[in-house]
Amino acid sequence: MQPAVTLRVTRYRPEQESEPTLATYEVPYRKDWVVLDALNYIKDTLDGSLSFRWSCRMGVCGSCGMKVNGSPKLTCASFLSDSLPGPIRVEPLDYFPVVRDLVVDMSDFMRKLKKVKPWIIRHDERPLAEGEYLQTPDQLDAYKQFSMCINCMLCYSACPIYGLEPSFIGPAAIALAQRYNMDSRDEGAPERLEILSEHDGIWQCTFVGECTKVCPKHVDPAGAIQQYKLTGAIHWLKSLLLPRGAR
């Protein structure tokens, strides 16, 4: 077993430098350590000024997404043992503005998320006294996968379209729109389609498919977008061919 691993970590101190630099740290190797543990070791014992986000360390809060050896990963789910003998390269996620060190700005996503109306939309609200909306396990299954998104931003960081065209609404937000569209309790699909058929919506996607590959929760945003395209295309055809009442 090897006693130490080298981490090459991107540093960016906006108050002192105009471009990121690279710092090298030696950390002890442990079989149960993930990259995040190594970063915490650095922060606690080697350099208190290294900044990064983290919280749950069990892959559900979505805070600790970074690039590990070139691929977007949750650092809490990336064992040092998978990158032996090292050195391990740790960088901030691609295509987002870097705020500092490994911290990126994700306010762009927060705006886009709101834009796709990720909430239940109904013509008539059912009073609570009448109980729950019935939903069979099969109906639940229809959207369940898309509801697993933890907003970790790995899919945006894997999407070159987002890199080249930052106005693109992007994988996670579209998957979440689809999550509500597919929910048997929701009636807001037409509203969302209008938003998502706009220039920055689904048609920007050229199906690179990497978003689905890097998703730690198997949400399959690429699938969501393609399904949405099909819906959009059918809707467009109908609006072209059918009289208004029959659409």
Partner: protein, 580 residues
């Protein structure tokens, strides 16, 4: 320093905070309402809850049954009027979440499915597969986006509550991205900042759970209630604190000491059988299992690893097929986050801190004794959880008391005038304190990590599963010395932009305050009740201690403990019986 103003300000964007903010927006749409959180709301620790949320919905169940389970589980320290309100409003709150889109697991006919849970005698736990907290949080967060009135201050770290003329009138915070000190004035503030598991070394709690709100309220003069009651879970992974569910033992997992011996048989928990038996051995009550671990450690029969003592949870004899079909999530967690395969290896486990029954003292409307200050969720102590919380009550509590606090705070705010100019002077002082004591501080000799580790060790030794007067006294002294050493902190990061060393230092100072409240409350309670077990006072003492402890911050900075009687309505104290 910029000044922002709102009517109701919610601190914390987890389950309770988001429910509170929606309650304000719905009941008082004209009020300016905002949520401020040190993380983006969907990062809040509610996200980690797995099991479920309790509410009576099925025929054959009753509100009284839920209330009785909660009260007896809490060893009669729960306020019964609060519990009655809680169980009464729980079903409606859960239904509301269903209407907002929460993907609750369903029966084949489309109705809500419920499942059994430890301590609940009837099945009433709603669940969304094994990610209940995650789905509840994201449903709540996405629903808040619907309300344009709700303002958000994401990644703002609150450093102080502004109190003037005897009421809470806002907060001072630092905006992490820029380091700017900001003031948000408010006519009412609701603390929904969660618990403080990180005061202890081994915990299921996320890194952000440092008792921020508890310490803020405590410093502002509000009391912390029942802080000595700390819930342990018997099987967590030692280093990460990741919880290994009870189901692993229910399927037939064994707890083994370093000799490979099923040690629970030595602690009056039944005889080892090859097949799992309800209420015996590995399926005994949680606290008894945790206590057996401590005894085993004292006998030197636990294993020792880089993160301290542990025992083994052995699932290997169940085989890959059973593990994969019955316990897929356990295997996934072990493989993904601990690099261990339970099919081939034994899982190192130990008791880990899971939940704080105590918190900022509130009434059943979420109001603290400090006018204008409210609290809900794990940060608060109403108290429905008494001396021991029942599994699946905490998520429901976030909803019921989040909503109650939101409505009460809104009604209070609607009747108040704008905060005066004197709070701004306080804010200036706070800004100076942060500059001088932290950001521009040079010199100093102490490391954050060292002080934190010493606090952990102190809390584990003194306020862990078993407590005694002598070790608690020592711990109180030790914490006081840590408080002093905190003043000699050496800080390496003097920047404004996303300075996480600064937040870590502030969090440590919060934790030290909360730790003192825990230790002093535990020291004064000379009885054993629920999760508070004193080896020097092993019996429950209703004559003296059927009362909530209230820890106030004294003039000398040390806690002063007072008592408040428990509200009993219909269920006189009885014996706490485990199992079914």
């Amino acid at each position: 320093m910029d000044r922002f103003a709102c009517d109701v300000l919610v601190v914390g964007g987890g389950g309770a905070g988001l429910r509170a903010v929606i309650a304000v927006a719905e009941t008082h749409p004209k009020l300016r309402v905002a949520v401020i959180s040190k993380v983006y709301p969907m990062r809040s620790h509610t996200v980690s809850a797995e099991g479920g949320a309790a509410a009576v919905i099925k025929a054959g169940d009753s509100l009284d049954a839920h209330a009785y389970d909660t009260i007896s589980g809490g060893d009669w320290l729960s306020d019964q009027d609060a519990v009655e309100a809680f169980v009464r409003e729980a079903p409606e709150e859960m239904l509301r979440l269903e209407h907002w889109g929460c993907p609750w697991s369903r029966e084949p006919d489309g109705h809500i499915a419920v499942r059994p849970f430890g301590g609940m005698k009837i099945e009433r736990t709603w669940f969304a597969a094994d990610k209940t907290g995650f789905h509840m949080l994201h449903t709540l967060f996405q629903t808040t986006l619907k309300y344009d009135a709700i303002e958000r201050y994401d990644e703002w770290f609150v450093t102080k509550l502004l109190v003037d003329a005897g009421r809470c009138q806002g907060v001072v915070a630092t905006e992490l991205a820029t380091g700017k000190i900001q003031v948000i004035t408010a006519k009412a503030v609701i603390l929904c900042t969660g618990g403080c598991g990180k005061v202890f070394p081994f915990t299921t709690n996320a890194n952000i759970k440092n008792g921020d709100g508890m310490a803020l309220a405590y410093r502002a003069g509000a009391p912390l209630k029942d802080m000595e009651f700390v819930q342990y879970h018997p099987t967590g992974l030692p280093f990460t604190g990741i919880l290994i569910t009870e189901a692993a033992r229910a399927e037939g997992g064994w707890l083994l000491n370093k000799d490979g011996y099923r040690f629970l048989q030595d602690y009056d928990l039944g005889k080892p059988e090859p097949k799992p038996v309800l209420r015996s051995m590995e399926l005994g009550p949680r606290d008894r299992l945790s206590q057996a671990f401590v005894k085993e450690q004292e006998k030197g029969r636990t294993l020792e690893g880089p993160y301290g003592h542990y025992v083994h949870l052995d699932l290997r004899h169940l085989g890959a097929r059973v593990i994969d079909t019955k316990l897929p999530f356990v295997r996934e967690l072990c493989l993904k986050y601990q690099n261990i395969d339970p099919v081939k290896e034994m899982i190192p486990v130990r008791p880990v801190v899971h939940y704080m029954m105590g918190g900022v003292s509130t009434d059943i409307h979420g109001a603290t004794p400090l006018p204008g200050l409210y609290a809900a969720g794990e940060a608060a102590c109403v108290s429905i959880n008494g001396a021991n919380r029942l599994g699946s009550n905490s998520l429901t509590e976030c909803l019921v008391f989040g909503a109650r606090a939101g409505e009460a705070a809104a009604a209070f705010a609607a009747a108040q005038r704008e905060p005066g100019p004197s709070v701004l002077a306080q804010a200036d002082d706070e800004g100076r304190r942060l500059e001088e004591k932290f950001r521009r501080k040079t010199g100093g000799h102490e490391r954050i990590a060292t002080l934190r580790a010493e606090m952990h060790e102190t809390m584990e030794e003194s306020a862990g599963i078993y407590r005694t007067g002598a070790t608690l006294e020592k711990a109180a002294e030790k914490l006081q010395s840590l408080q002093e050493r905190f003043g000699d902190l050496a800080l390496a990061d003097h920047s404004y932009t996303f300075n996480t060393e600064l937040t870590a230092a502030l969090e440590l100072s919060y934790m030290l305050d909360v730790a003192e409240a825990i230790v002093h409350s535990a020291l004064r309670r000379r009885e054993s009740r629920g999760s508070h077990q004193r080896t020097d006072f092993p019996a429950r003492d209703d004559a003296e201690f059927l009362a909530h402890s209230l820890a106030y911050r004294g003039a000398d900075g040390r806690p002063r403990v007072e008592y408040l009687p428990v509200t009993i309505t219909r269920w006189p104290p009885g014996k706490r019986v485990y199992g079914r």
